[in-house]
Amino acid sequence: MSFELLEKFRDPDLCRKMLDKMQGDLTNDLRFMEVCGTHTVAIFQSGLRSLLPEKIVHLSGPGCPVCVTHESEVNAFLDLAGHDRVIMATFGDLMRVPGDNGRNLKKAMADGARVKVVYSPFDTLKLAKENPDDLIVFIGVGFETTAPTIAGTMKMARAQGIENLRVLCFHKTVPTALEALLSDEAINIDGFILPGHVSAIIGVEPYNFIAEKFGKSAVVTGFEPLDILQSLTQMIDWRNKGEAHVVNNYTRIVGENGNPKALEVMYEVFEPTDALWRGIGLIPGSGLEIRPEWELFDAKKEFGITIEEGPALKGCKCGDILKGIKQPVECPLFGKACTPANPVGPCMVSTEGSCAAYYKYKLD
């Protein structure tokens, strides 16, 4: 997308008009959840957060893959990082995610673990070739956005006869998590801003249940201020009329059916499984695991790793925050025991995490 075109989605005058309209249309408080961390950050970065009417309550949802990576999954990759034969490969986001006793990958590296930050899963192929005597273990964290590329990497590894690559598969899928959230009585959300990147892969149809089954609205939304404002105004309008819809406003990137090719690759390699979400717990069918035909690449099998629900981190309110029950500033540890320098929970680590976004951008 060219910058000129993007600028149109940032037009200050149009934004101002929409903000005014919104102010007039709002009758009572409305609670919106932006499922995806990138939206949380976009709302802060553009300054929208300081301009939106007070009646609009924004909640950050479970849409940052770092935040929802379960503590048992974190401990699993930290344990593996100490292993002699292993070179861990990961995206940068996971480097500072704390496991038990304040362990993290950065500290593991200082203790001698071999960890390599990669920019693309495909970089692991080169790593594998350069280190034939070692095992490259890629930490597969991420949603439908990331999983197809990792599946593609595994396919390419097989085609090239690479046998020393493993994937520690913790992938999760977004719609299943939203369904679990909506089924929770404690949660009170009027509408969803649906993630742009995930939707580019899965399309719009998988979200229809939000309106059909739960009577709430949801809009696939881009990351520019006007994208966000347009989706909010629509949802306010529907709400005033007593309607609920699921629509795609991000048509410049997201096709109705998503990216069938990517989905095909993803499901060729992975199959649905139950998954543990940090702070939320077990959500049936919300994870992806490596199919038996691709077992050679499965790090969990190779090292006999199992993921189990343990006691939650003391004090951390990540669960309530991911579910939109609490705002980051309501966590007693926020900005005190828990800061980006010394994160207690992953919501404070990930650049897309809601606690980190509040800490980083919130003025007062």
Binding site: C15, S46, G47, L48, P65, D93, A341, E352, K360, L363
Partner: protein
């Protein structure tokens, strides 16, 4: 000499002497250095500015320079930011055994050229060769000294509410170049490091203006971190106007691919100038007259609203915090 740097070259014996006379003196030599005494004899007095910095950049060669030129630019600029004329530098090389001699020669040559352009002499030096793996190719430390010609010298704690915040040109170029080269990324448009010595421009600036409160080069941590340091030591608030921030389109593009924020990327040829608003136009005029300051502009103002904080005013008119960088910027998942 061998085509690779051998441990022998750091032994202090004949091999070291050959390396020094055939390579280092060839490019860095001058009357003082050529004497090869244990220390340099300098005639300096008055208020002096002195600064030291170690350069461990990876990759050691990048579009727009190499570690040798960078080691001069960085230290010359640090001295010059005190309102001083940099005069002399020293350099210490720590070289990994096996470094190609050609690479070393290119680096020393670039250092010599950069020193000449900046008008500083290299008056003392040291070379060590360490076993393979003990350092990453080559590390260079430089120390610089110069005469302060401004009274009071510009200082990070001297910003006042009402001051204008000026930058000498686009930000993020160096940092993105380094990261892009390190990762072997091919950006559509070529980005290049802005590495340069700013002392000549800075001298013109401080000589032409009665009052400059702060001069700073936003190197590691970038513009955002440097401004945070200034606002916290001066106890003022900096309001930055986002739409006034000069960032090249190709840098914006590269950053968005990598998930980086250009405001936190290092610069090696830019400086911040903070001074009373009434002198801002004059300062910009002086800066723009020099090629190194051609893109100079005002990006914000110091206020007393949120002391110690940097606030970004977005194009929509919203406000948000622009905090310090925590750790290094890392690529994100998606």
């Amino acid at each position: 000499m061998s085509d690779k740097v051998l441990l022998d070259y750091g032994s202090g014996g004949r091999a070291s002497q050959r390396l020094i006379s055939e390579l280092f003196l060839k490019y860095l030599g001058n009357d003082e250095l050529n004497r090869l005494n244990d220390a340099a004899e300098l005639a300096m007095s008055g208020r002096l500015a002195m600064s030291t910095d170690s350069f461990v950049v990876d990759p050691i060669f990048f579009p727009g320079g190499n570690i040798g030129s960078l080691a001069v630019h960085g230290t010359v600029n640090d001295v010059a930011m005190m309102g001083a004329i940099p005069r002399h530098i020293t350099c210490a090389y720590i070289i990994e055994e096996g470094l190609p001699m050609d690479d070393l020669e290119q680096i020393v040559a670039a250092m010599g050229k950069a020193a000449e352009e900046a008008g500083v002499t290299v008056v003392s030096g040291d070379t060590k060769v360490v076993p393979k793996g003990a350092v990453d190719k080559i590390f260079i430390n430089t120390t610089g000294i110069g005469d302060i010609i401004v009274d009071p010298a510009p200082s990070g704690d001297a910003a006042k509410p009402g001051d204008a915040v000026l930058i000498s040109g686009t930000v993020g170029d160096h940092g993105l170049t380094i990261l892009g080269t390190r990762e072997g990324l091919d950006f559509e448009a070529r980005v290049e490091s802005d590495s340069a010595s700013l002392n000549h421009l800075l001298i013109k600036l401080v000589e032409g203006l009665p009052e400059v409160h702060v001069l700073r080069d936003p190197t590691r941590g970038g513009l955002a971190t440097t401004l945070n340091e200034i606002t916290s030591s001066s106890n003022v608030c900096c309001e930055l106007i986002e739409s006034d921030l000069p960032i090249k389109a190709e840098v914006k593009g590269g950053c968005s691919i990598l998930g980086l924020d250009p405001l936190y990327l290092a610069n090696e040829g830019k400086f911040l100038c903070i001074l009373p608003q009434e002198h801002a136009d004059k300062a910009l005029e002086i800066m723009r007259a020099d090629p190194l300051g051609a893109g100079a502009c005002q990006i914000g103002t110091m206020t007393d609203a949120n002391p110690g904080k940097v606030v970004l005013v977005t194009p929509l008119g919203g406000k948000r915090l622009l905090g310090m960088l925590e750790g290094e910027q890392l690529p994100r998942i998606c």
